[in-house]
Amino acid sequence: MKLSYYPGCSLEGTALDYDQSVRAICRKLEIDLVEIPGWNCCGASSAHMTDHETGLRLPIRNLLLAAPAGHDILVPCAACFQRLKAADKALRVDPGFWDVGHYKPDFNILHISSFLAQPEILAAMEAKVARNLGGLPIACYYGCLSLRNPRITDAANWERPETLERIMTALGARPVAWSHKTECCSGSLTMARPDIAEKLVSDIVTAAVKAGATAMVTDCPMCQANVESRQSGETHAPVMPVFFVTELLDAAITGTYPLKQQKVHLVSSGVLTGIFSDAAMKKEVSA
């Protein structure tokens, strides 16, 4: 299978390891990722929040670059996904307004967890699991932009999505039922109003802890960085590591969680290293 790949800017910087694990998983699934040549930033929230046309012309350029190949476009970042979907809708309605002569591609824009949670891909991954996640109680966290607004994203289940839960179950983790899986972490405000981000992140982490989770998993690079970095260190130590969905997939399929990856986290990834430690390995062998 061939897919066009739109990594987005975060995956070249703060979420570089997300990019690496997406590519690793796709290699294992024999999915050929073709990076869109010369892609540009989608503009994220900052563009559409302050300039409607720039906010659409930036992602439109990427769609026009991807159109000749005609493959479906895989997007790991929730914000990029939402902007590409918004651009695709706007272009289909009125290409002329955007100075595009003809636009009728038959590709789909795919967000990563919806793509990976398809039954046949899920089965292929499950068959490759070398080491399951040992019932790790985990809170699946989606945030906003892969789901909302469904008139843009075409998400099937935007209030109670289950794609991450399906993937985590296949890996042998135990997704908890919790209240905040689609709540906003205010990633777009995190630099200018860290106080707001700390409040929202605190609510999210508190809800995950209350539901019994010892880790969170997400498919949004802004959520990952924001929820790990805004857990207030003043009143209590940060408690909740946030993993990328493909990071956990890669760990379970390779059966290892390398030191280099452990060190990327701002919150200790100890819950996972425990599962992959030699001691845990031995316990299972002797059991």
Binding site: G38, G43, S45, A47, M49, T50, L147, S186, R193, I196
Partner: protein
């Protein structure tokens, strides 16, 4: 909201026409309050979401453009998703922010548009966001030099920040977009 007397005479018709052109049907609001109750940032707003929609329906552009709310809105789309009348409330917030900038109204939350400017400046220069450069630019512009020093250092030490920017092929197309491509015909 304070008791206010709103006369149809100070309704901004151009503003209402702009909302109509963008399919933002603020007149469909029956003040059910679902938008306000689901808003994750609502506790920090000076005008709550349903007030924004109602004031927009009355064409009260000025009150809205001076509010904190339009800048604090994080564009999470919870309001528009849950609105029983499918009013594009997040789109309304976009229109308000863009109008405030175009009219040069001093933003009630000055750091937030400065952040957006730094973010977009990075795209304009490189075609992509180069995080360190964008953050440094924001710090200088906002004067918030001390904030998040520890976090920034931590991220740097963890190799999360790319040190050197990489320019894409086609930055001239990006510059065209930022120069208002398509707006030549007065949109």
């Amino acid at each position: 909201m304070d008791k206010t007397c709103i006369s149809p005479d100070d309704r901004n018709e151009k503003f209402l026409r702009k909302l109509k052109a963008r399919n933002i049907d603020v007149q469909a609001c029956y003040q059910c309050g679902r938008c306000s109750s689901g808003c994750p940032i609502g506790d920090f707003f000076d005008l709550n979401v349903m007030e924004v929609v109602r004031l927009a329906g009355y064409g009260q552009e000025d009150k809205l453009l001076h509010s904190h709310t339009i800048w604090l809105c994080a564009a999470c789309e919870t309001c528009a998703t849950r609105c029983p009348n499918e009013i594009e409330i997040a789109g309304l917030m976009d229109v308000l922010r863009e109008l405030a900038l175009r009219r040069g109204i001093a933003p009630a939350e000055p750091r937030i548009p400065l952040f957006h400017q730094s973010f977009l400046g990075s795209i304009r220069s490189w075609g992509r966001v180069w995080e360190i450069g964008m953050i440094a630019n924001y710090k200088v512009k906002s004067g918030d030099l001390a904030g998040d020093m520890k976090l920034g250092l931590n991220m740097f030490l963890k190799g999360k920040l790319k040190l050197v920017p990489h320019s894409i092929k086609g930055t001239s197309e990006i510059k065209e977009i930022f120069s208002g491509k398509g707006k030549e015909y007065d949109r």
